[in-house]
Amino acid sequence: MPALTLYDKLWDSHLVHQKDDGMSLIYIDRHLLHEVTSPQAFEGLRLSGHQPWRTDTNLAVPDHNVPTTNRENGIADPISRLQVDTLEQNCRDFGITQFAMDDPRQGIVHIVGPEQGATLPGMTIVCGDSHTSTHGAFGALAFGIGTSEVEHVLATQCLLQKKMKTMLLRVNSRLGPGVTAKDMILYLIGQIGIAGGSGYAIEFAGEAIEVLSMESRMTICNMAIEAGARAGLIAVDEKTVDYISGRPLAPKGTLWDRAVASWRELRSDPDATFDTVHEFNAIAIEPQVTWGTSPEMVVSVEGRVPDPAHEPDAGRRAGMERALAYMGLEPGTAIADIKPERVFIGSCTNSRIEDLMAAAEIVRDRRVASSIKQALVVPGSGLVKREAEARGLDKVFKEAGFEWRESGCSMCLAMNADRLDPEERCASTSNRNFEGRQGHKGRTHLVSPAMAAAAAVAGHFIDVRRLLDS
């Protein structure tokens, strides 16, 4: 038997047909849907007269457009409302399970899947959303697809794919105190670049990954796409199995035992070869803050905004200059001197209970700085919100001056009412700092939940480890 990578194993077990030209049909076990990238796919089904191949593999939830306040009043924006209503109607017409806006299980699709046990090891999981890479944390092959492919999966339960190349990112040693998975993935993206993973499925491994919780592993895989890789992967271990055990859609009884036995094989063989391997040392990673308009434009919180004059590559230099102009920053500015006006804790990257606990720990017995116009906490799902409230985190945040909201994508991409005004600066736990991402001309600095909380109470970016020590 040749030694196989985890990706090879997942690919082989889903191969339905391989064509002569290298294109393959692979079977899809789980299809997640949301309101933004599905309406045209359902319309396509209607026009062609196709029915879903299987309905039971699909799970839908509205998340991008949903309001995070006064939800009982519905959606004010008529265009957003139509999109959410359209998802509901499509799910009803085609017999697909949907967690509607008023369902306590509603939330961001990539939070809901794992939370419900809809995400299982060994699955192929797709969704019309690039952050589908999140689910790779469970040893599943998970990646984002376009709307034509959403229609293709609905109609055939398969996708036409070419095999990706494989990359191993081995992260040795362990993160220091106060440094999180978000800092690790931002650091890794800074090292390999936002196109570094193009064409690859990235497997994250090494001691620093093994000691991470499942929630932190999801943060890592979530941002694989920010390094250009459609899929991130992490091997199955006891933590994976423990996380899934007892979840509503997890297998039960004897099926559970059989499933667990097969999941234990979901790791790269020790002598498997990858197309590319990079090694890093976790102890070298400090809390990270992005300074530009691409996730690779990142430095340590103790660092400074870089000077484009020192960049030898003309294209990169032009990109840096444009980013600094957009961000309203001067080269050489200390990151700690940058003052955000808004703080956003949420998104499919960082809105799980662990994230909210980490932020609350910093916020407890402190106040949001008077210079901060708004500090938002948007839990990833109704169930995360409920658990946080059971732990009293809502009170901690509210007493400090945060707003405690309903679940959804919210200010990660500002399709609902939560958005930055032009030139407003935000400390955000989301995944993209692209121009206009959080609102027209808005300025995004990507950070971990603890770092966002620290910026909120300090009124400027600050190494969260200083607050932990005090």
């Binding site: 064509k19 079977y27 957003s80 250009g228 297998p251 559970w256 993209r432």
Partner: protein, 215 residues
């Protein structure tokens, strides 16, 4: 699906690396439940000086005269020349829909982001990957020789122009066939229905929990 065989068009040089899908079509326009009508909002934040919202009459909006698509010499361009990692970011197919609706049939760049690249083929847009140096050469010509047109022949895998030596390009044979024939992917896959059913039967035995089997 729209076929792509041989196409001649005006080239517009968009000299930026890492153009992301949020820049190609900002999120507020993703609220549409249609596939069409996105062209007026293509590169909205760069093309106009005001903030765009769905349903706006774009002919009345203040345009950014510095943005290359707005320059008179590039009006009616249908081939987009750009830099590496074009289309990075989200999976939104609204990005190729907006490019197509604007009138672009081909994009030339040193590299593309994976999901965007795939999405192009589903919409009859040809993404052409060329070496960085060749792309830089095309940039120089597109700037100097105004009204510079190129002809892209997918079958021959060549790019030609009045001021250009013939440039060859590589493309995956399956992508090439799909564009040349304008294939309907779903219909083609459903030809394999029997194999899909057979796969399901085998898989159900190995991993019954994936098929909603009762405990």
């Amino acid at each position: 699906m729209k076929k792509f065989k041989k196409f001649t068009g005006l080239v517009v040089p968009l000299d930026r690396v890492n153009v992301d899908t949020d820049a190609i079509i900002p999120k507020q326009f993703l609220k549409s439940i249609k596939r069409t009508g996105f062209g007026a909002y293509l590169f909205d934040e760069w093309r106009y000086l005001d903030h765009g919202e769905p349903g706006m009459d774009c002919t009345q909006r203040p345009i950014n005269p510095d943005f290359v698509l707005n320059r008179p010499e590039y009006r009616n361009a249908s081939i987009l020349l750009t830099r590496s990692n074009f289309g990075c970011g989200s999976s939104r197919e609204h990005a190729p829909w907006a490019l197509l609706d604007y009138g672009f049939r081909a994009i030339i760049a040193p590299s593309f982001a994976d999901i965007f690249y795939n999405n192009c083929f589903k919409n009859g847009i040809l993404p052409v990957i060329l070496d960085e140096a060749v792309v830089s050469g095309l940039f120089r010509k597109a700037r100097v020789v105004l009204g510079s047109k190129l002809t892209i022949d997918l079958k021959a895998q060549t790019i030609t122009g009045p001021h250009e030596n013939m440039i060859g390009f590589d493309i995956d044979p399956s992508h090439k066939q799909s564009l040349l024939q304008g294939l309907d992917d779903i219909a083609a896959t459903l030809m394999h229905s029997k194999q899909i059913r057979m796969y399901e039967e085998d898989r159900r035995k190995e991993a019954p929990w994936l098929f909603g089997e009762p405990a």
